[in-house]
Structures are given as structure tokens and as C-alpha cells.
Amino acid sequence: AITRGEVILSEKDLEGPLWELEMALLESDVALPVAESIIDRIRKDLSGQHKKFLRSTGDIAEDALRDAILTILSAHTLDFDDYVKGHDKPVIVVFTGVNGTGKTTTIAKLAERLKESNVGVVIAAGDTFRAGAIEQLQKHADRLGVKMIKHDQGSDPAAVIYDAVAYAKSNKKDVVLADTAGRLHTNVNLMEQLKKISRIIRPDLVIFVDEAIAGNDAVERAKLFNDAVPISGSILTKADADSKGGAAISIAHITGKPILFLGVGQEYKDLRKFDPDWFVERLLER
């Protein structure tokens, strides 16, 4: 069906290029259901469309993919720095996520970032469960010269965070960064505990921390954490470990919330504002 240098794309023309793009998404750790829904979308959008004779179907499909991913990643925006600047003080930020993703380290990085722009920070040692958790955060707080509020190990995390908020109010601090213990989304008691923390503290922001090296499970846990205590945005750590970080797409897609930052190393400076364009370029580069 060639008219004036154009052809009409059929599903059959698209099959090969779309298959390749789907494989690329899967190899980049975009979860399977998410990859499939993106590819289906593109198939529907493109088939039946006219294309210029000289453009390859593969290029057209790739452009469509780029757009689809950017749409997911830019669906909502939240600028952390602007939010903190514009919001009533103290801004209460609670960090959630499964075990070992990098919550505590990310709090230290954000504390450093805020400190540098002269924002007063208090840290709450809300992981009262894991061995060494309070000591870990204390060491960061000492290094950064930031106040940390703690109770004994085994005590009520909501109470610690509550005290940190009270401290911030009476000492004119701008932001409370509250750590919580890592927990798996399948652990009903611990997820209930998280809801309780949220009820008592009423955080302004809830930030879900996951890792860029995670695979398909990213969808499951983002969904269950977001269901338990609705998140404002996510941070993906360990993006320096050579993964393509497709988990960012899975998480943004399933939660409808923005990715705020990427963790790109173990030092305080290793926190990068999430830039969808940069991310998509990296994802699609060969």
C-alpha cells in the first residue's frame, strides 16, 4: 500500500522490531508485565499508521518506545528541593522499603544535600529492630554534624519519629528524615506497623527506596508498599552497579509516582537527581 512515498504499518511489519524492543526491556530489568503493557500500547498506536518510506520500522518503533517510557516516568513530577523550600516546616519525610535497599545510606546522602543548601535537618533513628541500625545512622549523623534522635533498640519506631518531629519544632529545624526498618511486603505485622507509624506521624512525604539492580519483584513490592502507605515518590539506589535500572520503569508504572533520585555509589555525594531523558538515553543505548 504505497502512496506518495508512504506505507501503512501492519502488525506484521511491527512484529520483529517490537520483539527486539521487548527483549531489550526485559534485559534491562523492566518487569515482564510492565514490558508487555508498554509494547502492546505501542503496537496499538503504530499499527495502521502511515510511515514515511525512508524511515525504518525499527526506528519508528524505538521512538514510540522512548515516548512511552518518558510518559511513564514523567506522569507526575515532584521536585524534592522545591517541595522542601515551599512547604510548612518541619517537613516530615519517612523512608520505606524492603531490607537492605539503601534507606539508611540514602537518608545520610539527603541530609548532606539539604545541609549544603542550609536547610536544618534532624534524623530519626526509626529502625529500632535490626542489629547495628542505630549505630549505623548515628555514625552518619556524627560525620555530617546532624542531630539524630534515638531510643533504645526494640522500642516503638513511631515514638522515636514523634520525638524527632517535636525536636524539630522546638529547635526550628526544617526537615525530619525518618529511617524505618527494612521489611518485606509480605510480612503482615511489619506492614501494619508501617501503617501505624504513618497514622501517628502523618508524614508530608513518604519515600520508597528500592534498588536499580532489582528485577521483577520490584513491581510486587512497590505495589504493596504503596497500598499500605501511599508513597510520594521513589529513590533507586545502586545504579552504579552497571544495571540498566529498568526497575525504575516498573516502579513508576505501578505506583504512578515519580522517581526522585538515583543512588550512584556509597559516598554522600553519590546521589543524582533523576532525569527521565538521561535515563531513557542510557536505557536505549546499545
Binding site: 527483549m23 526485559l26 534485559e27 534491562s28 530489568d29 518487569a31 515482564l32 508485565p33 524492603v98 531490607n99 537492605g100 535497599t101 539503601g102 529492630f129 535490626r130 542489629a131 547495628g132 541500625a133 542505630i134 549505630e135 549505623q136 545512622l137 548515628q138 555514625k139 552518619h140 560525620r143 518485606l184 511486603h185 509480605t186 510480612n187 534498588e211 539492580i213 532489582a214 528485577g215 521483577n216 519483584d217 520490584a218 510486587e220 513490592r221 545502586k238 552504579d240 552497579a241 552497571d242 544495571s243 540498566k244 529498568g246 526497575a247 556509597q266
Partner: protein, 301 residues
Amino acid sequence: MVLDNLGSSLKSAIQKLANAGKIDKEIIDDVVKDIQRALIQADVNVKLVMKLSNRIKERALTEAPPAGMDSREHVLRIVYTELVNIIGKATPIALEPQTIMMVGLQGSGKTTTTAKLARFFSRKGLKPAVICADTYRPGAYDQLSQLCEKLGVMFYGERDNKDAVAIVRNGLKETQKYDVRIVDTAGRHALETELIKEMKDIWGLTNFTHRFLVLDAAIGQQASEQAKAFNDAVGITGVVITKLDGTAKGGGALSAVSDTNTSIAFIGVGETPDDLERFDPDGFISRLLGMGDLKALVEKA
């Protein structure tokens, strides 16, 4: 353990087979596609999945089913044997004096698993000692010493020394009279060359009986590359999959053992020192595919 919804897609594929009577190519294509989906969703490396599924397809189409086995059982049996080929048996653990080195990516569960292993060996009547070689992560010393104190396990560490190699050298001397000595190292990944070198230097201090790679059950496509890097550096003798008490399937571990020619030793199923189990290949395969006991099928043949 949570067994899951990805199984449902596979189950429907298997159902198609059951209804099909005789094996034809179209149905096998269908079923193999569904097996691909299940494995990819379990985070098995995509290239490995393609290789595996091609083999399964080829065998299903060319091999005659054993007597008394219908076509459905035949395909399942092939899937099972191909997976067993990769996974093998659990890494053998001798109940005798030995030294163990724990390595892995940041936050994968090394320190927690170190404590779990100390507990495992002491229950078997061996005297464990633990050495903290993580001089990097804040609070690493406290985390491990607290865990050991609770368990009544000998702990060696040097709080203010930044030289992990020196600490392990000293620690190995100090713990000579203990049966099982376990060295917990800092988290690192393949691109952190300084840290990889440090790990190699620790490895060079003694002839470690085991070098365990601790892998998070949720790790995605990076599992292969990372496992290869650790294997190149210190020669992995076994994998520990952690956090299998969640919904992650642990397919990364399958890629890891496939690429390093090792096996899986233990699985972690919780945060407490008792939440450690010896690896069971059949349970793991069932979890990967989201379906029940395939072993019985094979034994029927």
C-alpha cells in the same frame, strides 16, 4: 513461602497440553512460550531462558516419551531435567573444621547470613568464630558483634582499623582454636575495582574452604555478570539466596550458578539467625515455575 500468581500462566499452558492428546508443534511452541514467561518473571537471565527453551522445544519434539508417560508429563519431565542440569544438588557442606568467606553485593545479606551460619554450625556441635572484615559500612562492626553476642559466638573485629586485610590476618590467628571461622566482608559490586582488589587480598590470606556468594532473591538481570566477577576474583564455591521469605523467585541465582558452574548451598528465609535452610533443588524449581512436585514425575519414568 508465597507461591504465587506467575504460576497461573504456566498452569494454563500445562492445561492446554493435558487436553491436547498427542504432541504437536503448535502446542509445544505455546507451552514453551509460557515457560519462557515464567522463567523471565522469576528473573532468570533472558539469554539463558532463550537457550533453555530452545533445548526444551527441540527435545520435546524429537524425543519419544517413555512408556506410560503422556505428552504433558513428557514435556514437564524435560523442563525439570533441564533445570536440574543447571541447578544440580545443594553445595555439600562438611561438618568439620573449615574457613568460610562471605562475599556479595551491598545489602544482599552477608552479615545476617554470617550469623545464621555460625548458628548452623554451632547447632551441629562445631565451635564457630566470626571475623568482621567490613571496615567500610558505618556500624558494620556493631551489627555483627551484636548478632554474635546474642548467639554467644566468638567475635573478632578491630573497631578503629581501616585495613580489612590486616584485621582478617590477625583474626585468623586469634581464632585458630575454633572449628569454623567465618569472615564477613563489606558489600561491593563488579565495577568497584578497589574493593574487588581488597576482597582478593583477603582471599589470598588463607586457603578458604568456602567462598559463598550471597545473592538477594530479587536481583535481576545483573546476577550473571556480578556472579562472574566474584567468581573470577575469588572462585565461588556456593551461593546463598537470601530474602526468599518474600515474593522474589530467586531466578538470578539460577543464572549465577549456570555462569559460574557452582551450586546453591543455603537459602535465607527471614531476619533471625534461625531463618536459614539448606538448599532444596526441587522446592526451588517448583518456586521458579510456580508449580508443584515435578520430581515425582521424573521418578515415574
